[in-house]
């Protein structure tokens, strides 16, 4: 079962309840209502980008419990995950909304694991838009999208998406990317293409994992 945390913002409303994706979510949990019963039977828990970090910190034990018990936890960007997910290290970067206007601009994104199943659903080019910071994956985690060191020395480079199957019994997929916000604001087509591939994958994963558990 795929469950998503819906913070009640307009962009979550459009991205979650709008026609293209609504059928992919088996359960929509309004974040202020999150409790143990809401997570019953859930195999993949998706924390949509730009949830309210105060509520996420308050519910951290519940959310992390899902990961610790063997479930898949997906945390998208701008959720201040470094304040409530153990082991997450994050460095903010000033956002360059304009990189694609610079002459000869080439996205700096790198894909160290192109064979990963993520890319069978989301082609690399659909992961490219501005970003807000980089993650330092812990030992044992695998970076799927990386960027080189900040030219002004703010960080040594890092991941925009990594997978951690080592730290707990379950799987953590964590990203700095914020596609729900941009798709839900009807701005930035690459974020819509990202969700076009990512959410069906999440849905399929939730079904596979339910079978495995059963």
């Amino acid at each position: 079962m795929l469950a998503v945390l819906d913070a009640g913002s307009y962009y979550h409303h459009h991205a979650i309840h709008g026609a293209p994706y609504r059928h992919l979510f088996d359960r929509v949990i309004y974040t202020p209502d999150l409790d143990r019963a809401a997570l019953e039977g859930v195999s993949v828990l998706l924390v949509a980008d730009r949830n309210n970090p105060v509520l996420l910190r308050r519910h951290a034990d519940l959310i992390l419990g899902h990961w610790r018990r063997g479930g898949t936890l997906v945390v998208l960007g701008e959720n201040e995950a470094e304040s409530w997910v153990p082991g997450v290290r994050w460095s903010p970067r000033p956002t360059n909304f304009w990189w694609w206007l610079e002459p000869g601009a080439k996205p700096e994104h790198q894909y160290p694991r192109p064979e990963h199943e993520f890319f069978r659903h989301v082609p690399p080019e659909d992961t490219v838009w501005h970003y807000h910071g980089v993650l330092q994956p812990p030992p044992g985690a695998e970076a799927l999208i990386t960027v080189p060191p900040d030219p002004e020395g703010r960080d040594q480079g890092g991941a925009l998406l990594y997978e951690d199957r080592a730290s707990e019994a379950g799987r953590l997929l964590i990203a700095t990317l914020d596609p729900f916000y941009h798709h839900g604001s009807r701005f930035m087509p690459s974020t819509t293409r990202f969700l076009d591939g990512f959410l069906p994958w999440m849905n399929r994963l939730a079904r596979q994992e339910a079978v495995a558990e059963g």
Binding site: G8, S9, Y10, H13, Y30, P32, N52, P53, F187
Partner: protein, 194 residues
């Protein structure tokens, strides 16, 4: 000013202008029920707000307005928390003319800011607004968007109070002219000033 978790960032653009007697107080949105709204000249609601939570309190917000309060809100209305106005209506997209911003009426908040300034950021259209709302009868439409001139910045009275809805990203963070400062002055100008 309501916050929704990112208290430090919320409304930083407006809080720059706070002064003694002209304070901007951030309040967690989920503490709204305990907040005596009538103590505040204006309530600012940003684009990231939990609108579902606000919609459950729409009657209280309308009551605050009726008594002479001011609400300035940004974003697309997905849940009905403001009185009299419709939900968000998307625009056809794909053509520059669908995203062009038109001035329908001059207003001091946008003094010195041209239609061009609102339409383009570094030559890119679409940052200011990408959709519209059906305004209440007798509302003032200040800016519209697209070939059909769909209402984007709308100001109207509700009882003794007033509402400003900007149907896009937070108006106070749009970096053109002195929008944030002028908006701050408007918020504190008194309910009779539209």
């Amino acid at each position: 000013m309501l916050t929704y978790g990112h208290a430090a960032e919320t409304g930083a653009a407006l809080r720059r202008f706070a002064a003694p007697g002209r304070d901007v107080v951030p309040r967690d949105q989920y503490a709204l029920d305990e907040e005596p709204l009538e103590h505040h000249a204006a309530l600012v609601i940003g684009m990231h707000a939990d609108q579902r939570h606000l919609a459950a309190r729409a009657g209280r917000l309308a009551g605050y307005l009726a008594q002479g309060g001011t609400i300035a809100a940004s974003g697309h209305l997905a849940y009905p928390f403001l009185p009299d106005v419709s939900g968000f209506q998307p625009l056809p997209t794909g053509h520059l003319d669908d995203l062009r911003i038109h001035r329908e009426a001059a207003h001091p908040i946008w003094a010195g800011v041209s239609e061009q300034d609102l339409t383009f950021r570094r030559g890119v259209a679409g940052f200011y607004g990408r959709g519209w709302h059906i305004p209440p009868p007798r509302a003032r439409v200040l800016h519209s968007v697209g070939r059909e001139h769909r209402p984007l910045d709308i100001m109207w009275r509700h009882g003794k109070g007033r509402v400003l809805l900007h149907g896009g990203n937070d108006l106070w963070s749009f970096g053109a002219g002195d929008i944030a400062r002028n908006l701050f002055d408007w918020l504190l100008a008194g309910p009779e000033v539209l």
